[in-house]
Structure formats: C-alpha cells, structure tokens
C-alpha cells in the first residue's frame, strides 16, 4: 500500500441504542481505500456493510453513533469534524449512490434541475449561467443518449437504469474523490446491471477517484473490484485481492458465501454447506417420474393480454391539435405465447422487467383476465372463468403461488400460523382448532420452520423465515401447480440456497409442478427442467435448461447470459 490511503477506517465500532439495549452493528472494523482503488464490501443483510459506509459519511440516524475507532478521510478526522465541514465533504469529496434510484431522485423536478442544484451548492467558482451546460455535460458523461432532451425529463419518464445513471451523474457532478455505491444495481435487470457497473468502473478510472462498492453479490464484487472485504455480523472476516479471495478463500464464512452463489457447473445441492448438502441429497425422496405421453398439466395457447394505451398525453395532444403519436391504441404486454407444463415438471419463465412474465403468471393464477387465448389446467379451460369468481372455486386450491416479496405478501396483522392456515380455512376440509393447528405444524415441519415461531408476527421473523411461511401457505392445499414469482429475489444468497433446495425437495415429495418466474438464468437453471425466455411479450427461446444455458440460440439469450457477472469457480 502506498504512503497514505484516501480513506482509513481504524477499529470502527458503531452502536445503536434500541429498546433492548445497545446493539453493536459494526465492531472493530479496519478498512482502507487507496487513491484510485475500487473496493468491494461484501456481506449479507445485517452484516454491517451499509452502516460502515454511513459512518464514513456520518449520516447514521439519531440512535446510532460511532463509539470507538477513527475515520480519516484524506487527512480529515470525520469523527471530530463539525457538521459544516461534513456538509462540504459530502457531495463534493465523498458521494453516495443508493439502491433505489427512483427514491433518490425528486419525483417532481426535472433531472437537469436536480443536477444543477448539486453544482450550485458545491461549485462556487463556476458561473451561474454555466450550470445548464455543466448539467448536460454530466448527463453526457454517464452515457445518456440525447442529454439535451433528457435534461427536461422527469424521473418517472426514465427507466430504472436511466434513473440510476442520473443518480450517478448527480454523484459525480462535483468530481468527488470517493464514490460509495450502496447496492447500486440491486433491482435492475442483468443487462442494465452490466451497463451501470461498466460505467461506474470506467468513470472511476477516468476521474482517478476511488470507489467503494457495497454489495451482497460476490460475483459482482469479483468482476468489478480490485479488493474485497467480506463482512459478517458487523466484523470484517476477510480482506484480500479480488483474484485471491476467489482462488483461495480463507475464512469459513467466505467459503460458505461462495458455495451458495449460483453459478455455472454446479447443482442445487452444491450450494449448501458440504455436510448439509450431502445430508439433503441422501434424504431427498426419489423424484416422481412423470409419465410420458400424458396430457400436460397446464396448456397455454396464443395467450394475449392487451392494455389500452391511454393517458393524459394523448387526450391533451388532441385537445391542442397536436398530432397523436403514431402508435397502436393498445399495448400488448403478452403477445400470443404458447407453452405447456407437464405433471411434476418445473419450467422457468425468464426475462427482464417488462417482458410480460409476471402478467403471464397473473393470468395463469386467475388474478388477471386475459384478452384472448386458452389456459387449460388439468384438462379444464380455466381461462374461461372470470378472476372474480375463481376465488371461491375448488380449482383455486390446485394452483397456488409463492410471492416475490416475503414481507409484502404476509398480512402484518396475522401471525405466521394464521397466515398458513388461511387457505385451509377458506378452501380446505380441515375443521376445528386442534386439527388446523396440527396441519399447520405439519406444514411448518415440512418447510423447516421451527414451531415456536408460528405465533410470531411477520415483522418478528427474518427474511428466510418469512419465505418459508409463504411456501407453507402455498402448499397447504396440496396444489398441483405452484407459481414461484422470484421467490428468492429478496433473500441473501445463503438463504436463497436453502430455500431453493427446500423447493426442490417439496416438489419431489408432493409431486407438484413449478412455474418459476425469474430474471436470473443461473437460479432458474438450478431448479428447472425447461426454460422459456421471454422478451417484449413473446417467447424468444425455449428448451431444456442445460441446452439453453450452454448453447443459447437466440441473441437475446446470449446477451442475458454474458451479462451475469461470474465469480471464478472455487477450488475444492
């Protein structure tokens, strides 16, 4: 390491005072960032990676404080600096990018104005008239096409990736020395993620600044950073060069994380820690053989969902005599797709946001009415039944769903047990308190949820536990088809590994079919026999998982695959 690092965090401990006493979110952390270096802080939720960066910026909320240690930023003691000094530091010297770009932008102001605000606050020397040009320059820098037009755009008119670019432009407007990116690409599509990360790395090099990338994704960290710091439960467990940490991880936690990251050439069982993986492989019952030549469980033919293109712009345009845009009157979210799912088969439906995969799953679930097309389930045309009346029919119990966000999909006022038995109370044949409780406990055992957690409310459960409650609820009625809508997107990798394995076991044990909706090809491959790739409402490629991933035919599939950041394979 050269003489003086740009940022030097020594023995940092951050405490939060809560109702249950003082919680040490970060304990004795040492991190240093050299000039021009890109450092990744990797860890799962609750590891203290975000808190560490907040402490560096001194933006901890009221309950938190730096209890011990020192934070030196290019010779300034952050701990002792006045609030005025810190204000100068933030934005001009240290900038931050947050996870949700839409939340970081003011929704009712033009993006150009927002960039100008930053310039006006921090750059005194520039002429006032100059700000507009400077803002356009900043937009140009983050490779936004037609920056002069985009200057006048409101955040809602831009896509998620575009918004993140604007946020980066905001962060870099004053040429900071250090950029802190807190999960900058979580929630973005893989191809967008690649574009945004490439941009961040390129700008870091060009502007000779340093970057701290905070992420839960080891693959991302490996692909884009010089050094990696792995954090667990508020402590740094390993610091090493990116190449070294993958070739030769030292700490057991790092090894566990690496194992759990889905990647090419591994099976579902490999994601679990060694002993557990072996145990799971042994105890798993043999898969229910799907009989050949049988009628498919679910048959979709020429399914279409159209939304009317409406909105004030068209009406206003007519009013003021402007020419309406030459577009069809309807928007086809799903454009005539056909596929089938066999008994006991799991099919992955992959695509980026807006490709129509969620709309498709909603129609199959009968939560949404299709415009045209056939949905045949178990030989019966359920597409003809209106969603409103479907809820009370016995068929309802044959198709169930596991939702994307385990928190949002649980009623905050229901205990875990109440949530699990809700479908049984409505559609099941089990009556009586004790019988319901017994079934609930049986289901909890099946999904590996400790019985003592059954009386808790959702906010008292961890993400993985909530996911298990959601799965238990979905399988409570012995469904034949379960739609998994990105069931692990909100979970940490190690929890994701466990949940995916659980889903695999349940499928084999209960003989269900899965429709796995996801944007992540790597995850889909682990669980699914067949993969369907969708783009703009159409199916672009369909085939066995192995074939699609190893030998993609469509250009779009290829693009999706190359965009996934791959960590080097771990050595065993």
């Amino acid at each position: 390491m050269t003489a003086q690092p740009l940022l030097d965090v020594q023995d940092l401990t951050v405490e939060f005072s809560t109702r249950r006493g003082i919680v040490k979110a970060v304990q004795h952390v040492n991190i240093s960032v050299a000039k021009g270096e890109t450092l990744a802080i990797v860890g799962e939720s609750g590891s203290g990676k975000s808190v560490t960066s907040y402490a560096v910026m001194r933006i901890l909320d009221r309950a938190g404080k730096i209890a011990e240690g020192s934070v030196m930023f290019s010779g300034i003691d952050v701990k002792a600096a006045t609030e005025g000094q810190m204000r100068d530091l933030r934005g001009r010297e240290v900038s931050m990018i947050f996870q949700n770009p839409r939340a970081a932008l003011n929704p009712i102001r033009k993006v150009g104005d927002q960039i100008e605000d930053v310039l006006r606050t921090h750059v005194q020397q520039a002429m006032v008239s100059d700000h507009g040009e400077k803002a356009i320059e900043a937009l140009e820098q983050v490779k936004i096409a037609r920056p002069r037009e985009r200057y006048h755009a409101y955040p809602f008119e831009l896509s998620g990736g575009m918004c993140q670019r604007v946020v980066i432009a905001l962060a870099l407007a004053c040429n900071p020395q250090l950029l802190i990116a807190d999960e900058p690409t979580t929630g973005l599509d893989v191809t967008t993620q690649k574009a945004v990360m490439d941009l961040i790395v390129e700008l870091t090099k060009r502007k000779a600044m340093s970057t701290i990338l905070i992420t839960h994704d080891l693959g991302l960290a490996a692909a884009y950073c010089d050094r990696v710091v792995v954090m667990e439960k508020g402590r740094v467990v390993e610091t090493a060069k990116a190449a070294d940490i993958f070739a030769n991880p030292q700490h057991p936690y790092t090894k566990k994380l690496m194992r759990a990251t889905p990647r090419l050439g591994v099976s579902l069982r490999d994601l679990l820690p060694e002993e557990e993986g072996a145990a799971a492989a042994e105890s798993a019952p043999a898969a229910v053989a799907s009989a050949e030549g049988q009628k498919p469980l679910l048959l979709i033919e020429k399914l279409v969902k159209e939304y009317p293109r409406q909105g004030a712009t068209a009406t206003l345009g007519k009013l003021f005599g402007r020419k309406p845009p030459v577009e069809p009157d309807v928007f086809r979210a799903v454009d005539g797709i056909s596929f089938s799912i066999g008994h006991g088969e799991s099919v992955g439906l992959v695509g980026e946001s807006g490709c129509g995969k969620s709309t498709t799953s909603m129609m199959v679930m009968r939560l949404l009415d299709q415009t045209s097309g056939l949905i045949q389930f178990d030989g019966e045309d359920i597409g003809a039944i209106a969603p409103a009346s479907f809820a009370r029919l016995p068929q309802r119990s044959r198709i169930q769903m596991v939702f994307q966000d385990p928190t949002d999909s649980l009623n905050p006022r229901f205990t875990a047990a109440r949530a699990i038995v809700d479908p049984i109370m409505q559609l099941g044949d089990i009556k009586g308190r004790d019988a319901l409780r017994a079934r609930c406990e049986e289901l909890a055992t099946m999904v590996g949820l400790p019985h003592n957690l059954l009386d808790r409310f959702p906010h008292q459960l961890s993400g993985g536990q909530k996911a298990r409650v959601g799965i238990a609820r979905a399988i409570a009625l012995h469904p034949k088809l379960v739609i998994l809508d990105e069931p692990t997107a909100a979970l940490d990798v190690s929890v994701q590994a466990v949940v995916l394995n659980l889903l695999q076991d349940l499928k084999a044990r209960l003989g269900m079919s899965y429709l796995f909706v996801s944007h992540d090809l790597n995850v889909v491959r682990l669980l699914c026999d067949r993969v369907i790739v969708m783009r703009t409402g159409r199916i672009v490629e369909e085939g066995s998982s192995e074939r699609v991933l190893s030998d993609p035919q469509d250009d779009y599939t290829k693009e999706l695959l190359t965009a996934i950041p791959h960590p080097p394979l771990p050595v065993h």
Partner: protein, 299 residues
C-alpha cells in the same frame, strides 16, 4: 428492504401471548412517553367520573336552592353555585357521563359509516369510490357546524340527533383517511395471497384490510372524539342540543355566560375547563394509542 432484517435470530425473551404483549406494550409506551401517560391518567379520571359521578357527588345536580344562589366557590360548594343555587361541582361531574356518551357514540357511528364506506371506496374503486367521494364532497361543501345545526334543527332536539349530526359532519374525515389507506393496500402482496387462499372480496376487506387500517382509524377516532365533545357542547350552547335543566357542559357555559359581566365567573369557567380538559385529553391520547395498537412497534 433486506438490510433491515436481522441476520441472527433475535435472542430476546420468548414471545408472550396476545394480551400480555399488549399490556407490556402499553406499559412501555406509557413509560417512554410521559405525555401519553398523563393523558391516559386523565382518561381514567374522566371515565371514573362518567361511571361513578352521579353516585359520589355531594349534591343533587338538579336540586335548586334559591337561598344559596350565585355563591362563589367555597368549602361547601367547591365550584360555587349557579343562579338557581345548584352545586356547579356536582353538575360538572355528572355532565361527564352525557358528554362522553355523545362523543363515544358519535365516533363509533361515524367509524361504522365513514370508515367502512371509505375502505370500500378505496378497495373497490370505480362507482363505489365515486359515490362515496361525492357524498363526502357534498358534506364538506357546508360549514360543518352550520350543517350540524341544520340537521338537529330539522330532526329535533334529542341526544340521538346530536349524535347523528356529529357523526355526519365527521363523515368526510373518516371516509377520506380510510379510502387512502385501503387504496394503498388493495394490490399489496398479502391481499393477492388472500385471494389465492380463496377469500372473497368482502372477506378480504374485513379480515385483511380493515385490521391493517385500524391503528390509523383509532388515532382518527381519538382526535375526533375531542371535536365531537366540542360539537355537542356547541350545539347545546346555542340551544340546539340537550335541553335545560339537564347537566351538560355546553348548556352550563351558555347559562354562565350571562353572569360573566356581573362578576359571577365561576358558573361558566368550571364547565368550560372540564370541556377543555376532556378535549385536550382525547387529542393527546391519539398518538399514544397508535403506538399501542400497531404491532410493528411491538418488537
């Protein structure tokens, strides 16, 4: 927000059952927030006065004693006596029951009308929303107190009609809050999940959405309780409410108002003070109640 979820299992004491948890939470909130504790103490005093008041007061609130008319506060008559020689302290305490009853009844009524209509409007949208919205707009087009006066004048001078009038003028407040809250949740994951579990639309409304809106509705009820008391007293003050000689804070202030000029300040002051304390108490209560009923605060 994945970063919020604790990585390790909270090793706190084992979760206690429903009632104990609520009691524990109540104790915590009261201890944490002195103002809430104070308002709860005040509420208990008001409730005790409402329930036991008539049995413990030293004088009959309706018994006049012309010999002791217009006496200033003394040891015998703590709050003094009015122009008919009635003991003001006894009247103020006894009136608590009537005033609190009117307030509670009107708030419950308006919750049933406005709250449920609002939730249905927010959840179903479309025509339900339009109809409820326009009813609320129509009510809000009138000065509320004038509207309440009109309703009581038209329907007659009874306690039931005061309750109804107070409920109607508060309708838009409840309908709008409930509508907004239900609207946010209509497409929440747990509502979708409830549909998948075979819940009908009305069941979802009552079992899934309503309980999630209760915390904010309870705060709303507590806040309008103060307004309801004021409204009832106001109606009585202008002669459109409870009729004399019934003990009621609004009438007592009205009766005392004429004597202020001649120096008999106590006739109007003490009922006015009681009114103020009651309104004050219910307003303070709102925030404390929200903390208690919200399970998210009960970690």
């Amino acid at each position: 927000m994945s970063s919020v979820a604790p990585a390790v299992e909270p090793a706190g004491p084992a979760r206690t059952s429903g009632l104990t948890a609520i009691l524990e939470q109540t104790r915590y909130v009261l201890g944490e927030n002195k103002v809430t504790g104070f308002s709860f103490a005040l509420l208990i005093v008001i409730l005790l006065a409402a329930v036991f008041g008539p049995y413990v007061v030293p004088y009959d609130p309706l018994a006049s004693d012309t010999a002791a008319a217009l006496k200033a506060p003394s040891a015998a008559h703590w709050f003094g006596t009015d122009q008919l020689g009635r003991d003001i302290f006894s009247r103020v305490v006894v009136a608590t029951r009537l005033d609190t009853f009117i307030a509670v009844a009107s708030v419950v009524l308006v919750f049933l009308m406005g709250g449920l209509a609002g939730i249905a409007a927010g959840y179903f949208g479309g025509w339900t929303d339009r109809i409820v919205g326009r009813i609320a707009d129509t009510i809000m087009a009138f000065p509320l107190f004038v509207l309440a006066m009109g309703i009581v004048a038209a329907l007659g001078n009874t306690v039931q009609n005061i309750i109804l009038a107070t409920a109607i003028v508060n309708f838009p407040l409840y309908a709008r809050v409930a509508r907004a809250e239900a609207n946010v949740r209509r497409n929440a994951g747990f509502v979708q999940a409830a549909r998948l579990s075979g819940n009908g639309e009305f069941r979802i409304l009552l079992m899934h959405i309503l309980p999630n809106i209760m915390p904010i509705m309870i705060v709303q009820m507590s806040l309008t309780m103060g307004y309801a008391i004021l409204n009832a007293a106001g109606l009585s003050f202008i002669g459109l409410g409870v009729r004399p000689p019934t003990a009621e804070w609004g009438i007592m202030v009205a009766e005392g108002a004429g004597f202020m000029v001649s120096g008999e300040w106590w006739i109007a002051l003490f009922p006015g003070l009681a009114l103020m304390i009651a309104v004050f108490c219910f307003n303070l209560l709102g925030d404390g109640l929200r903390d208690i009923v919200d399970p998210q605060r009960r970690t």
